[in-house]
Amino acid sequence: MDPIRKALNEVYDEKHFSIHKKQDTVKLARNVNRKKRGAAVTVAVTVMAAIMLFLLVQPAEQHVSVSTEKAPETVEEAYMERFAAAMVTDDKEAVMTYLSESDWLLQCAIESGDSAFYRSPELTAKERKNLSALLYYMYLWRIEVWGAKPPIPNVASFDELRRQSASFVETYEEFFPDKPFISSKEEHGLLSNTYFGTMSKNNQWGLIGMMAIFGILFILNIKVRGNLFFKAIPLVIICICLVPFVMPAAEKYAYDETSIMEAVLNEEELKGAHLTDAATFGDNRYALITTAEGIHYFAHFLKNENGYVLWYTKTGKEYMMDASQPQWRRQVVAVHEGHDMSKIELVGEYESEGTVIPVDLEAGKPTIRAIVKPEFFKSFHYEYYNANGEKMY
């Protein structure tokens, strides 16, 4: 016998693998299969729970109520007024006035049928969508084609417009195949409620790639002998990577009146306020909000690849607030409820001296107007007129 084996057997002579331990081993071996089944069930349940959690992260219910003191108008009246304005082609001033106003609140009212700004008639879902789309396309036609006659005939009543709205929308769609109408419901549906959904595509792929790499690393690590702590590191990193999938989106998007209020109230940490007006001009969305204490907020939302996100808010007690859109040569003029102005003028200075752009207002009524300025109109100041037409300040 090998001398080392002999020595080990001599010294360890009395030591054996005990019968008790053998029986215990057999018992544990019998449980191995059961444990495997248990582990498989645990993994399956965890995966299912994760999928369920992911699917359950749907857009949260809105609990913010919208209140407005703007006098409710009927959809029919407001719609026919806008339709008539959209049909005008030969009066430049009328076209400019039409373009300076937004149809967005009216669109939202037609779509939802439940607006604080307009009393809505009984309409079918299809009619709601078509009438809303028609407003969008009529405005687009004026922006894109400017003075050309619209491709649809004039109609005298709202009922006739309801009946023909589908064919009118089809006509416009042929002109703008690359600029389809997106309803606020669809806009909401496109938004992601999770942080992951708001990340750029590159970052999303980067995150998924990282999870895949650490997943592979984790699987390889399981087979390698080593410290459990180091084996767990890839798992911890994967868990961290999963956070954006369940974390709510940091940015609040404005896709209707309620979401506008929610975004502004959150941002400004306000407990209560009411929306008095809102407007959308291309990639810019604006809202006027007033608190019970008489503090005014002018919120500007900017469109990114996901939707309209809050960009900034102007706050103060003054009634008039403005914003510039230099790329569109637009000047957005907003007046809060309770103002006493009948007109604001944009008065040219220096190279644009002598040019005056008037903005007619109704005293007390909150209004948002987007003024398209002539190219040379770069320097100007505002002049204000009271309800009697007298210059203020």
Partner: protein, 171 residues
């Protein structure tokens, strides 16, 4: 392989190699309770992998490989390091006799075994597999995943450390 058949195979293997494996584990951990636990873990691993065991190596070779890996895992675990630190404290407190004093009082076999127990793991591996397991150089290399020349070198150095001169099949 059916579960009853696997269970029967496990019992037979434990009867045949259980004592050897427990002794092998003891040389690494120097605690009989722990050695038995590691032996049990080795047999459970053997049982779990029975369905993938293709019989290319003998059961003994396969079992030695598992047992040595289990011992290495234990030695690199936090649990073992914690026990070692605690024991070191106890030794200091007890002002135990030195290893030299203990060795002087032992007979040749005990002295040899004590020296084996105190070998660094990589030398202990080759001594245990080659001598205690009575395996060939090829089998030793296969179990430890080492080239034959490395096995030879380590065996030579291990023997030098043990202060013995054995020649079988090595030089």
């Amino acid at each position: 392989m059916e579960s009853e058949e696997r269970e029967q195979r496990l019992i037979e293997t434990m009867d045949l190699y259980g004592d050897d494996i427990v002794k092998l584990c003891y040389t690494y951990v120097r605690n009989w309770q722990t050695a038995e636990d590691l032996t049990q873990e080795s047999f459970l691993k053997f049982f779990r992998s029975l369905h993938t065991f293709r019989g290319e190596a003998s059961v003994k070779t396969y079992l030695y490989r598992i047992a040595i890996n289990v011992c290495h895992d234990y030695l690199s675990s936090w649990k073992y390091k914690k026990v070692t630190i605690t024991n070191a404290f106890h030794k200091i407190l007890r002002t135990e006799r030195s290893t030299e004093q203990v060795v002087m009082e032992l007979d040749d076999s005990k002295r040899l075994v004590l020296a084996i127990e105190q070998l660094p793991p990589k030398y202990k591996d080759v001594i245990i597999v080659f001598h205690f397991g009575e395996m060939s150089l090829e089998e030793t290399g296969s179990i430890l995943k080492l080239p034959i020349n490395t096995v030879k070198t380590r065996l030579r150095r291990a023997r030098q450390m043990l202060g013995i001169s054995l020649q079988e099949g090595v030089e």
